[in-house]
């Protein structure tokens, strides 16, 4: 026993190889014992164990377990197969339809989002466009669309708002030193003032009392803007000043009551 405990690593490794040969049937117990005579007595027990492990019979599971477990496993497997078969049978159709539907939804959502985004961006950009900008014509189209469904009173109010918008445009063009575009804004202002006046006249013929508050509101708004514009006169070059004066004159005519429907 002590001899085996004190065996060198090299010997131990050789012994392990011999045991391996014994376990795999490539060597006999007697051959191993002959190879390591100095350990014969103690080695015999170890060899017996190793050989016993190799020759040990398999333990069978209990028959009841074998049968019942098989039934349970097969049932699960059949259920799994049903699922797998369903997936395999409808593979293409189910998956593709789902994918296609999902794809359509995503595409629709994407397109809708893009359209809404572009629409919002377009509307915002157009509403802020100034004369000379590419989107300015769209801004005028939007204004005309609003007038289509407006009543006479609403028409007067809208025209007044548009006239106010023209004055704002003139102010912005002045700030941006886009003097060449100012005449277009002034033309628009004169047009809006004329149409607002005409609309007020139309309303006044049917109900003069209803137009007075609208007219007064328009007067006050244009008056304020005229004062601002007048102050900005010094900012524009000389050749542009007549245009500003033209706008101020139109505003003055309206503000001073020349178009007063009352």
């Amino acid at each position: 026993m002590n001899a085996m405990k004190n065996m060198s690593s090299e010997t131990a490794f050789s012994l392990a190889q011999a045991l391996e040969a014994l376990a795999t049937g490539n060597s006999t117990r007697e051959e191993v014992l002959r190879r390591f005579p100095e350990y014969r007595d103690s080695l015999d027990r170890l060899l017996e164990t190793v050989q016993g492990a190799r020759e040990m019979p398999q333990i069978s599971p209990r028959e009841q377990f074998r049968t019942n477990a098989r039934i349970r496993i097969m049932n699960v497997a059949r259920a799994g197969r049903t699922t797998a078969a369903a997936q395999a049978a409808l593979p293409a159709s189910r998956t593709e339809v789902l994918t296609r539907r999902l794809g359509n939804v995503l595409v629709t959502m994407s397109v809708t989002f893009v359209v809404l985004f572009l629409g919002a961006w377009f509307t915002f950009s157009a509403s802020n466009a100034l004369p000379g900008d590419p989107l300015y014509s769209y801004k005028q189209s939007f204004e005309n669309l609003q007038l289509l469904s407006a009543s006479d009173t609403e028409d007067a109010i809208l025209q007044a708002q548009f006239a106010s918008a023209r004055l704002t445009e003139i102010q912005l063009l002045t700030v941006q030193q886009r003097y060449d575009d100012i005449p277009q804004a002034v033309d628009g202002f004169e047009r809006n003032i004329a149409q607002a006046t005409a609309a007020l006249a139309t309303v006044a013929r049917s109900n003069s009392s209803a137009t007075l508050p609208v007219f007064e509101q328009m007067q006050a708004q244009l008056k304020n803007q005229s004062e601002i514009l007048s102050n900005m006169m010094v900012l524009v070059p000389h050749h542009t000043r007549p245009e500003i004066e033209r706008a101020l004159a139109a505003a003055s005519l309206f503000v001073n009551g020349d178009h007063n429907p009352g």
Partner: protein, 184 residues
């Protein structure tokens, strides 16, 4: 004594099982039930636990068959299912330690040649099993797969997901530990 590679089911059976052929999976179950059961029994020493774990091994195997195919290890179904059993036993030990000893009336597989009387066989079995069960997990599993299940180093390496040389090292150390346990 254990299932040899020559007796392993055809790859065609494995392939059919992967395709969802329940009967093919039944063949695999019939073939691997006893060795897997033994592999587990050596490590848990309770028949009931070994049965429960064995059943779970096959359920997991069926569940993971598609993954097995994608791993392209068709030629080594045995190593794959042993790996499932091995991992299951490890998980089992993480939560519970076996306390029930081997059933003394446990049946010996009738298709194996007996070494002697049933009593002698059982004594030998218990002695070897006790010896192996005292080892730590990697040594225990290597010795069971190598000497009891008659698996190749390559297969054991696949099961344990280690290199073949390391399997040899574990086997060598496992035998040394047994020698120490035997006091020789």
């Amino acid at each position: 004594m254990a299932t040899s590679q020559d007796e392993a089911p055809d790859l065609e059976v494995v392939e059919r099982a992967i395709q969802g052929d329940v009967e093919a999976f039944g063949q695999l179950y019939d073939h691997y039930l006893t060795p897997i059961f033994n592999f587990i029994l050596f490590q848990v020493s309770s028949v009931e636990e070994a049965e429960d774990l064995t059943e779970i091994v096959f359920l997991k195997a069926f569940e993971n068959l598609p993954a097995f195919r994608t791993k392209k290890v068709m030629e080594n179904f045995r190593a794959w299912i042993y790996r499932i059993a091995r991992n299951l036993v490890i998980d089992h030990y993480r939560t519970k330690k076996p306390t029930v000893p081997l059933d003394p009336d446990f049946p010996i597989a009738s298709n194996e040649p007996p070494l002697g009387s049933d009593l002698q066989i059982k004594q030998e079995y218990e002695r070897t099993m006790e010896m192996i069960q005292t080892l730590d997990e990697p040594f225990q599993q290597v010795l069971i797969m190598r000497f009891v299940q008659d698996m190749s180093y390559r297969e054991i390496a696949d099961v344990l997901e280690i290199k073949e040389n390391y399997v040899r090292v574990l086997q060598f150390r496992g035998i040394q530990k047994i020698r120490t346990l035997m006091g020789i």
